[in-house]
């Protein structure tokens, strides 16, 4: 099976869906002539032309709204946010527009739109360019939220997102773009709303998504050397949330650590731990524990940034904690 980067997997997904459906178009800052700020859209302008690969002014609220309007009349826009940090300027269009139009029109206007781009921290980008905003979007009924961890999932989920009739918030990762993995040739889809066991295990369940999957797996590898078997479950989609495989895993391990790059307060991990205690309270042998980004704006200094991020070492410590080992 070919091994390709996460970036190229996304590029394949875009290319295949643009070929498949003339109503699909890509719009955003630097997506065309510049070939994408992170080169995800490389070559698309050359193949599909400027009618369908549309460079915009720096006008996030404006072009997000253009996407919602175009979707109201049946087009399938893919709106690229250069990073999710900039989507804060477009919140009114996404939350008050995309998420609500089907409901408040009594079912008349579907919004088949994807908003995608990189989320989370990269390397020393400081407070305004390092945010993980998954819980902001997952909070809102009407939106679907996807955060793939591997090239395989990225391609299959992006294709599903483009074909979905609801607005999909698609979190990529700046530091994931260069990561590699197996991606089969030819057509496949990964369904939205289906979790995936990334590493089977028996002693502790680790829930992680997007960039945190690799952090969880590194921790699991370290722990395996000590004879501790971790099961890493990747929800892949944060809304709709596929609870069953996580509950099933917790029923088996009786312990759970949730790894989240974002802030702890009202984070996705809070919601997941609520769901676990509702469904499997009697089967827990330890409180559900979270490893999250530090509850601070992201600092610039390298050492402080490192301290602010979840790391394999912190996950190892959390797993040992729920096993009452230290």
């Amino acid at each position: 099976m070919p091994v390709i980067t996460y970036r190229d997997a996304l590029n394949q997904a875009l290319r295949e869906e643009l070929r498949r459906d003339p109503n699909v178009f890509l719009m955003g800052e630097e997506v065309g002539v510049y070939q994408g700020a992170y080169k995800v859209s490389k070559g698309l302008l050359q193949e599909f032309g400027e009618q369908r690969i549309i460079d915009t002014p720096i006008t996030e609220e404006g072009f997000a709204g253009v996407g919602v309007g175009a979707a109201m009349v049946g087009l399938r826009p893919i709106i690229e946010m250069m990073t999710w940090n900039f989507s804060l300027l477009a919140m009114d269009q996404i939350i008050n527009g995309a998420a609500k139009l089907l409901y408040m029109s009594g079912g008349q206007y579907k919004i088949p739109m994807v908003v995608r781009g990189p989320g989370g921290a990269a390397h020393q980008l400081a407070a305004q360019h390092s945010q993980s905003l998954e819980s902001w979007y997952a909070h809102v009924p009407g939106l679907k939220v996807v955060a793939p961890a591997t090239p395989y999932d990225a391609k299959g989920l992006l294709k599903s997102a483009i074909r979905d009739d609801d607005p999909v918030i698609f979190f990529e990762g700046e530091t994931l773009y260069g990561s590699k993995g197996e991606v089969p040739e030819g057509e496949y889809l990964v369904p939205i709303g289906v979790a995936d066991i990334k590493r089977p295990g028996t002693d502790v369940t680790i829930v992680a998504w997007s960039k945190m999957v690799s952090v969880a797996i590194k921790a699991a590898e370290t722990l395996a050397a000590d004879g501790i078997s971790c099961e890493v479950v990747d929800p892949r989609t944060l809304r709709p949330f596929d609870e069953a495989p996580i509950i099933e895993s917790v029923r088996k391990t009786n312990r759970c650590v949730i790894v989240e790059e974002g802030w702890p307060y009202a984070g996705i991990g809070s919601q997941i731990s609520y769901q676990i205690q509702q469904a499997a309270f009697g089967e827990l042998d330890a409180p559900v524990t979270r490893v999250t980004g530090a509850d601070v704006p992201m600092p610039y200094a390298k050492n402080l940034e490192h301290l602010a991020m979840p790391s394999p070492a912190r996950v190892v410590a959390a797993v040992r904690d729920v096993l009452y080992l230290d």
């Binding site: 178009f25 009618q51 915009t56 002014p57 006008t59 609220e61 404006g62 072009f63 997000a64 709204g65 253009v66 996407g67 919602v68 309007g69 175009a70 979707a71 109201m72 009349v73 049946g74 087009l75 009114d92 269009q93 008050n96 527009g97 139009l101 089907l102 409901y103 408040m104 029109s105 009594g106 079912g107 008349q108 206007y109 579907k110 009924p141 009407g142 679907k144 009739d165 609801d166 709303g193 709709p240």
Partner: protein, 346 residues
């Protein structure tokens, strides 16, 4: 004597518009007025809840503008939109049912006064965040061009919306990409209780189009034929050249901002409101039609009786419509069922 004082656009429109259309516009203005008066009554009776913004005084803007549209053209509005919805083709009964929060409402009771939608007639909504719908309209115009269709999109908003970023971002894109979108500012002089002089660094709203090298016009929004004349030019520009236009329609609302706001008070005087009421757009238009021999007093009275009867019928329809079922709480959040969510049959 009348001929000498009749403005050029009135002569032109009276000559070029079919008689049936001219009288239909008068009927629509009366219907809009009577509908809104009835809404005020129904609000007092608590049959209508939430926020409710009435259009009384501004009828000429929507009715003149919509009079030149084709059925496949689309409109977006803010939240003072009952009359736009009816004139675009929503049945008054279904609009009233929406205001009553009933299942047969145009948005099945999910939207209310501020969120009237009807896909079949191109009523793209009633939107509640000031100016937030301007990019959406720009997107629909983008889609028309993308699909090589020649329908046009009109978007109505108040003068207070021209100070938000979404307005400027939209005008820039529409001018840059040449989109068939017509931006109609209903300048009723007050954003809620703040006068334009206290909110805008420049008084002349249409002048803002210069920043985007966009065509613009300032028009008397109390004159339905002036609106028709002006929007007709803009629609032609949009349909044939894909060029956007910014129109500033200067008008006045005779009621408070919403039902909870008195007609006059802290921000405008009774004298000012009474003076403006002398410029009533329905009376002015009736004067033109009367002078042209297209209607007489009995004709006007007959129209008015007909409008009142249609509003009564709308009330009866709304009263008879059931409330949404409890199941509807979770319908149409997503287009496919998951968890508690499902689709409505509508």
């Amino acid at each position: 004597m009348a001929t000498a004082s009749v403005p050029e656009h009135v002569t032109r429109q009276l000559a070029s518009t079919p008689k049936a259309k001219l009288t239909e516009m008068l009927y629509q203005m009366l219907l809009g007025r009577r509908f809104e008066e009835k809404c005020a009554e129904m609000y007092a009776l608590q049959k209508i809840g939430g926020f409710c913004h009435l259009y009384i005084g501004q009828e000429a803007v929507a009715i003149g503008a919509l009079s030149v549209l084709r059925p496949d053209d689309k409109i977006f509005t803010g939240y003072r939109e009952h009359v736009h919805a009816i004139v675009k083709g929503c049945e008054p009964g279904r609009v009233m049912a929406e205001l009553f929060g009933r299942r047969d409402g145009v948005s099945h009771g999910k939207g209310g006064s501020m969120h009237l939608f009807n896909r079949q007639v191109g009523m793209m909504g009633g939107h509640g965040i000031v100016g937030g719908h301007i990019p959406l309209a720009t997107g629909v115009a983008f889609a028309s061009k993308y699909q090589k269709k020649d329908d046009v999109t009109l978007v109505f908003f108040g003068e207070a919306a021209v100070n938000i970023g979404a307005f400027h971002e939209s005008l820039n894109m529409a001018a840059l990409w040449k989109l068939p979108c017509i931006y109609i500012v209903e300048n009723n002089r007050y954003g809620m209780g703040t006068s334009i002089e206290r909110a805008s660094a420049i008084y002349d709203v249409a002048a803002r189009a210069c920043a985007y090298d966009m065509a613009s016009e300032t028009v008397d929004g109390m004159d339905v034929l002036a609106m028709r004349d002006c929007v007709d030019r803009a629609v032609t520009r949009a349909r044939t050249e894909n060029a956007p236009t910014l129109i500033e329609a200067r008008c006045y609302r005779f009621m408070g901002h919403s039902m909870s706001d008195p007609v006059h008070g802290h921000y405008r005087t009774k004298e000012e409101v009474e003076a403006q009421k002398q410029q009533d757009p329905i009376r002015a238009y009736y004067g033109h039609l009367l002078a042209a021999g297209l209607i007489d007093q009995p004709g006007l009275e007959q129209f008015d009786a007909q409008a009142r009867a249609e509003v009564e019928k709308a009330i009866q329809f709304a009263d008879a419509s059931p409330e949404p079922s409890a199941d509807d709480l979770y319908s149409d959040v997503y287009s496919e069922p998951y968890g508690p969510y499902r689709r409505s049959e509508a």
